[in-house]
């Protein structure tokens, strides 16, 4: 019997959530590094 797979809707929503959270983390890091890459 095949393993249960998340539904396409669950997959889509999971991907959107993950991308939003990754963008949040990256955004915080880039704000921190703003001074290194831009102001300096």
């Amino acid at each position: 019997m095949a393993r249960h797979e998340p539904t396409p809707e669950q997959k889509r929503r999971a991907l959107v959530s993950a991308l939003a959270l990754a963008a949040l983390a990256l955004g915080v890091y880039l704000v921190m590094m703003f001074k290194v890459f831009v102001v300096k």
């Binding site: 019997m1 249960h4 998340p6 990754a22 890091y29």
Partner: protein
């Protein structure tokens, strides 16, 4: 939690049998390539256990040195390396991975999901820990020894040291990346993979505390990463963010570090709250008192954790208004924390309690964590903190929070769930001996450190004045009792995993989350392939 057993129980038995023939692959590849949340949870827990014993060995080395005044075994530089790496290993290598291990095992089971949302990302999150640990421990072998600046990595000292600091910075980056990926996975799983009917307010408290913790991690880990990247550029690329010699400001590093560092404390304690909120109702045989208020209190603590970082640096010369703000904000955290302690006590009130090992550790947590919370309130008072800053009182305070808080919850949680995870019951007598030796050893180890701090003994020194000798001797004796009693735990857990009396499906009468009510013991390799329906 109001979820009730649905008609999927027998179904999962059937699935368990159906999957026996294509269960886990054998050999090393099972662990290298696994995407199964149970396997990855197991690997996180064994990794944390290994690092706990590595960090614990360093702690015993520290206490051996401090057994009596004078330099016994180590030169001061190596002693400072020991305190630094002990802190980093225990925080990033033991406590945090242990809680991620619990999350991997329990979050999918408790929300009725088949696995984490991103199983391959989950595998990667774990395996990043190994090079990080190698870098951290390997730094001892470099010229000049491991980083010796304290786990806070304060400049300018950290800018002056050798390559070991670069290895530590790289290790912190890897650990941070691992934590962020793990957090994304946990949040995504909780928000998108819940079984039908499993509304947010039906989730067990452990899932709630991890949801909030994962948001904290995503918010503050990049801040730490930014801070240590700037340290790296100060060391090698000619910047002077924190180097006063080039016009930089070391105090800015402290602000940035503690903006990460204080939420980090809650990252290490909120999942512990979740575990305790599962254990106490199970052994009191009553539902958790004030479920909704527990959720709101957890969220309040998390939000407040962002505005209290200044209490770690009252002595750097902030304006009085700043000190007052941080003092009052810190005291405010006592309100939601008090709500939690009240609710735990109310859960036990008039319950039909029994005191098996997980309950002993939960009650031990409740008593000792509260002491740690109270000493935190003492330290929140600015004039008191100015006196006690960098003394052993602070060391006593945070060990009451992180050892009798986070670690006791982890140990209690392992005793609570290992019958479910392994299919075998642990040795209860050994568990109780382990608890009482830990309880006695811990208090003999850390309670005298309050006296040492009040008497003015500074932390992070390998030698001390004669008037501190007696309590240091007692503290070291307690350390060895506590340290060696953990070998009983290790033996008990290894022998439980390898065999023993079969555990029941619902080993604990009062346990009511899905893994107990819906799944057989031992659990099949794949669970909830058809999502349960929660009524």
């Amino acid at each position: 939690m109001s979820a009730t057993p649905a008609d999927v129980h027998g179904h999962d038995h059937a699935h368990g049998e159906a999957h026996e023939h294509h269960g886990p692959p054998q050999g090393i590849t099972r662990w290298l390539y696994t995407t199964n949340h149970k396997d990855i949870g197991t690997m996180y827990l064994w990794f944390a256990c290994t690092m706990f014993f590595v960090g614990g060995t360093m702690a015993l080395a520290i206490r051996a040195e401090l057994f009596e005044p004078g330099l016994q075994f180590f030169d001061p530089q190596f002693f400072n390396s020991l305190t630094t790496v002990h802190g980093l290993v225990m925080i990033f290598g033991a406590i945090m991975p242990a809680f991620v291990g619990f999350a991997n095992w329990l979050v999918p089971l408790q929300v009725g999901a088949a696995d984490m949302a991103f199983p391959r990302l989950n595998n990667w999150s774990f395996w990043l820990l190994i090079p990080a640990a190698i870098l951290l421990m390997g730094s001892f072998l470099t010229p000049g020894g491991a980083a010796a600046s304290g786990w806070t990595l304060y400049p300018p000292l950290v800018i002056q040291q050798g390559i070991s600091v670069d290895m530590t910075i790289l290790a912190v980056h890897l650990l941070g990346a691992s934590s962020i990926m793990g957090s994304i996975n946990i949040i995504t799983t909780i928000l998108n993979m819940r079984a039908p009917g499993m509304t947010l307010m039906k989730m067990p408290l452990f899932v709630w505390t991890w949801l909030i913790t994962a948001y904290l991690l995503i918010a503050v880990m990049p801040v730490l990463a930014g801070a240590v990247t700037m340290l790296l550029t100060d060391r090698h690329f000619g910047t002077s963010f924190f180097n006063a010699a080039g016009g930089g400001d070391p105090t800015m590093f402290m602000h940035i570090f503690w903006f990460f560092g204080h939420p980090e404390v809650y990252i290490m304690i909120l999942p512990a709250f979740g575990i305790i909120s599962q254990i106490l109702p199970a052994f009191a045989r009553k539902p958790l008192f004030g479920y909704a208020s527990m959720v709101y209190a957890t969220a309040s603590i998390a939000i407040l954790s962002f505005i209290v970082w200044g209490h770690h640096m009252f002595t750097v010369g902030m304006p009085a208004a700043g000190n007052l703000f941080f003092m009052y904000a810190t005291m405010l955290i006592a309100v939601p924390t008090g709500v939690k302690v009240f609710n735990w006590i109310a859960t036990m009130w008039r319950g039909e309690m029994t005191f098996e090992t997980p309950m002993l550790f939960a009650v031990g947590f409740l008593c000792l964590f509260t002491i740690g919370g109270f000493s935190g309130l003492v330290l929140a008072i600015v004039p008191v903190d100015i006196t006690l800053h960098n003394t052993y009182y602070v060391v006593a305070h945070f060990h009451y929070v992180l050892v009798s808080g986070a670690l006791f919850a982890i140990i209690g949680g392992v005793y609570f769930w290992i019958p479910k995870w392994s299919g075998h019951m642990y040795n209860e007598t050994l568990g109780k001996i382990h608890f009482w030796l830990s309880m006695i050893g811990f208090n003999v180890l850390f309670f005298p450190q309050h006296f040492l701090g009040l008497a003015g003994m500074p932390r992070r020194i390998p030698d001390y004045a004669l008037q501190f000798a007696e309590w240091n001797m007692w503290s070291s004796i307690g350390a060895f009792i506590f340290g060696f009693s953990q070998l009983i735990f290790l033996y008990n857990m290894v022998s439980t995993v390898r065999g023993g009396k079969p555990a029941a499906q619902k080993q604990w009468e009062g346990a009511d989350s899905l893994e107990w009510t819906h799944l057989p013991t031992p659990m099949p390799y794949h669970t909830f392939e058809t999502p349960p329906v929660i009524k």
